[in-house]
Amino acid sequence: MLGSTYAIVALGLTMVYGILHVPNFAHGHMYMLGAYVCFFLITIFGFAYWPALAISAIVLAVAGVFLEVLVFKPVRNAGGITPFIAALGALIILENAVVVLWGPEGHRIPNPYPGIIDVFGITMSTQRLLVIGGAFLMIVLLQLFIKKTTLGSTIEAVAQNKEGATLVGINVNFVSALTFAISTALAAVAACMVAPIFMISPSMGSLVGMKAFVIVILGGMGSIPGAIVGGLILGLIEAIGGGYFSAAYKDVFGFGALVLILAIKPTGLFGKEIKGR
């Protein structure tokens, strides 16, 4: 179940990297922000679960565009480590802004589907099943969007060759903003789906963000199937490591696996060679 949420968060990250070659360190914090928006919509404004999820995705899409225009666009041509220092700055602002506005303590979103279902002899809570189904749906929809629509294929075009895309009349700025919007909206959806199961807190973003990065690298930066497979691998490694060896060191196994895989294949499982970056 965790694997599938990781996969959606990582999908957004890998899209942004594939297009802009920006390692968006603030991605996990957008995920956190998504969970918060969802929480406030439900508890304060009394929205039902599904509309809250949809609105949270839209709000975060707008936030993503702001992030792109204000932080990443000015450093797009700077190269080197500059973009991710900018991302670190954004991350610090986001995390502390949430702490200042809503306090550092955790909150819980009421679980919309508290029931339990029996699937082929395996007992699961409905919400967890929902997460798995939702993740699968998101992945399919995203694939369809990118492969079957014109708008989607402009994203792929820019990822493959920025100059070439500009030549054939694709507005690179628009596509960048669009990619960011989709990426953060995906993060918001993942956050809203998981939030009823776990607590939400301002610090929830950093660990998820880092895991998303691990996945993206496991699968190879910019590769969408890589992100999906990577997400499932990480989820499995954590579940097996945490269950059979030691729960305290659960994260160590995941990160350790990354270091191992990179030692064997420095560009990740599905990654292309990156040069001079």
Binding site: G89, I92, V100, M210, D251, P266, T267
Partner: protein
């Protein structure tokens, strides 16, 4: 000699100021802030070696700081070693772990390397928090002794219990680090570091073994940050896993970037100015970090070379206008 003095008078003044500073600043609190600034300057300088001069964004710097700190804590407190043996051993340990980790990690490039080191730092943090027998878990280790006195024949003993003596101790190590960094970056090997940072493929083409260059830089950098960590543990007297946290790495990053990357003075300047700035911004409380993030973004967009870059730009302009007149 005169010529040398003329070229370097500014640095001499800074050195003299640094030497008499504890006599001027008598407030214990500020004294502590300054000593810690000097200590973090060592860490910032070493980060600058790998980040600025070699162009590899290592985000495990806080982790290696913690390895040095835990090393000294365990050797002196748990095992009862002499500080002056524990310190170099811990720094070497930090460098050695850097070597072990660097071998797989440095095969990756750019953002990949940054993430791998970030994960590494998280592993160190988790191990520090969970290995109860060795590190004391999340409570950490309390009661680490201050550095042992050094006996000097004919002069008595040099003790490190007072704040002033600790200040000079840290200053000594900062100068040592600065000296090594200066010699290293100005040497031919330092040039290969820079070449690797600027264009890795081209450096490889002209016969530089970029992998070994990066590895050397990584190990040296981790050695010095381990040293800083070791001194930190001994002076503060207690450590907890928070020294290994990502926040520590961010602090170092901030010092280097705001001070001026790829310069020797920049990281030191950053390590001094930012804590002082933070002291003045205390009244902002929670908003302090938001402002900080904002500052980081503005600096990276408009002044990518930090304070030193700004200074150089201004001084170049003044020189130009003088030549013009």
């Amino acid at each position: 000699m005169i010529k040398w003095l003329k070229a370097n008078w500014f640095y001499l003044v800074v050195l003299v100021v640094a030497l008499v500073l504890p006599l001027i600043v008598t407030n214990r609190y500020y004294g502590q802030v300054i000593t810690m600034s000097l200590l973090f300057a060592i860490g910032a300088l070493s980060l600058n070696l790998i980040l600025g001069f070699t162009g590899q964004a290592s985000l495990a710097h806080g982790g290696f700081f913690a390895i040095g700190a835990y090393g000294v804590a365990i050797f002196t407190y748990t095992l009862g070693w002499n500080f002056w043996i524990a310190l170099p051993v811990s720094a070497l340990l930090s460098g050695f772990i850097g070597l072990l980790v660097g071998m797989p990690a440095l095969r990756t490039r750019g953002a990949y390397f940054a993430i791998v080191t970030l994960c590494l730092s998280e592993i160190i943090y988790l191990v520090a928090g969970n290995w109860m027998e060795l590190t004391g878990g999340h409570n950490g280790i309390v009661g680490i002794p201050t550095p042992n006195p050094i006996g000097i024949p004919g002069l008595g003993q040099l003790t490190f219990d007072s704040q002033i003596s600790q200040y000079y101790l840290v200053l000594f190590f900062l100068l040592l680090t600065l000296f090594v960094m200066h010699r290293l970056t100005k040497s031919l090997r330092g040039m290969t570091f820079l070449a690797t940072a600027i264009n890795e493929d081209l450096s490889e083409a002209v016969g530089i073994n970029t992998f070994r260059t990066k590895l050397l830089s990584f190990v040296v950098s981790n050695f010095f940050v381990g040293l800083a960590g070791g001194i930190y543990a001994s002076l503060i007297g207690s450590i907890s896993p928070s020294v290994a946290s990502v926040g520590m790495t961010f602090n170092f990053l901030m010092y280097v970037l705001l001070g001026g990357i790829t310069t020797l003075a920049g990281p030191i300047l950053g390590a001094f100015l930012i804590p002082i700035l933070l002291e003045y911004l205390q009244f902002l409380q929670d908003y302090q970090m938001i402002l900080f993030g904002l500052l980081l973004i503005i600096v990276i967009i408009y002044f990518p070379t930090g304070f030193m870059g700004l200074y150089k730009k201004l001084s170049d302009k003044i020189k130009k206008s003088k030549v013009g007149a």
